[in-house]
């Protein structure tokens, strides 16, 4: 169980590191078209940047920025985006997840519509992976209490 401990070195390093990690997570997502990468990997890097925050600072500061309700909402939002694109293709007259049909609403030809369809669903994957990783981490370190451990609520 975690206990809050001030450490100026860890806090300063995290303050500097977290923005770079988030940019790198977005880079891995956006560059999944041309190099190894994509939603799963980018989501994990993105989640690691959020997980650093309750490690370096205290849990209350993290929960103020990232409420539990919002994490669960993001968990389902990613799957919703992915499945929603699938249903949108179905509504536009194609097969399920047939991104070529998106050219009817995007100002591009069907081949590039596939390109952008892949980008959109990878974003959905990234959101879900990120939120699930953060949610599992917070639940495990606090034993599901979402509260930092003190001696009296340990039993």
């Amino acid at each position: 169980m975690i206990q809050h401990q001030e450490d100026i070195i860890i806090q300063t390093v995290c303050r500097i590191l977290i923005p770079f990690m988030q940019v790198y997570g977005l880079y891995v997502l956006a560059h999944g078209h041309g190099s190894p990468g994509g939603g799963f990997q980018g989501g994990c890097i993105f989640a690691a940047s959020f997980i650093l925050m309750p490690i370096a600072f205290d849990l209350a500061a993290f929960k103020k920025r990232f409420a539990e309700k919002r994490i669960i909402l993001l968990c389902s939002l990613g799957v919703f985006i992915y499945a929603g694109i699938g249903w949108l293709c179905l509504l536009l007259g194609g097969n399920f997840l047939d991104y070529g049909e998106l050219s009817a609403i995007l100002p591009v030809d069907p081949v590039m519509a596939r390109y952008y369809g892949i980008a959109i669903i990878e974003t959905g994957v990234q959101i879900t992976v990120m939120a699930v990783m953060v949610s599992i981490f917070i639940n495990l370190i606090t034993g599901g209490r979402h509260k930092e451990e003190t001696q009296e609520n340990y039993d």
């Binding site: 999944g32 078209h33 041309g34 190099s35 190894p36 994509g38 939603g39 799963f40 669960i72 968990c75 389902s76 990613g78 799957v79 992915y82 499945a83 699938g86 399920f96 997840l97 991104y99 081949v111 590039m112 596939r114 390109y115 369809g117 892949i118 669903i121 990878e122 959905g124 994957v125 879900t128 992976v129 939120a131 699930v132 949610s135 599992i136 639940n139 495990l140 034993g143 599901g144 209490r145 979402h146 509260k147 609520n153």
Partner: protein, 91 residues
């Protein structure tokens, strides 16, 4: 007795598998059945059909999009399951 039976069964299964190895194609040969079915199509046409230079991404998200959708659903289910098992109301 039960233990010996288990060991004998395991050895028998191992022998069956070792016997099956003979029928596998040699390692690294390009004209084996697994490489002749859909791989050439992915290699030749994935850039023209999807516009994605990375073949792995094209297969993962486009040709096998349904697979990836349910992979994401599995991760979502894992998160919800951890929440169900561990989360408890604040006292």
């Amino acid at each position: 007795m039960k233990k010996l039976l288990g060991i004998a069964l395991a050895i028998a299964a191992l022998l069956v598998l070792l016997y099956g190895i003979e029928d596998l194609p040699p390692w690294g040969v390009s004209d084996q059945p697994a490489s002749l079915h859909v791989s050439p199509r992915y290699i030749e046409k994935s850039l023209a059909e999807t516009g994605v230079p990375n073949m792995v991404t094209a297969v993962l998200a486009d040709y096998r999009g349904c697979d990836t959708l349910f992979e994401t659903a599995v991760i979502f289910t894992a998160g919800i399951a951890v929440l169900m098992l561990l989360r408890r109301a604040m006292p």
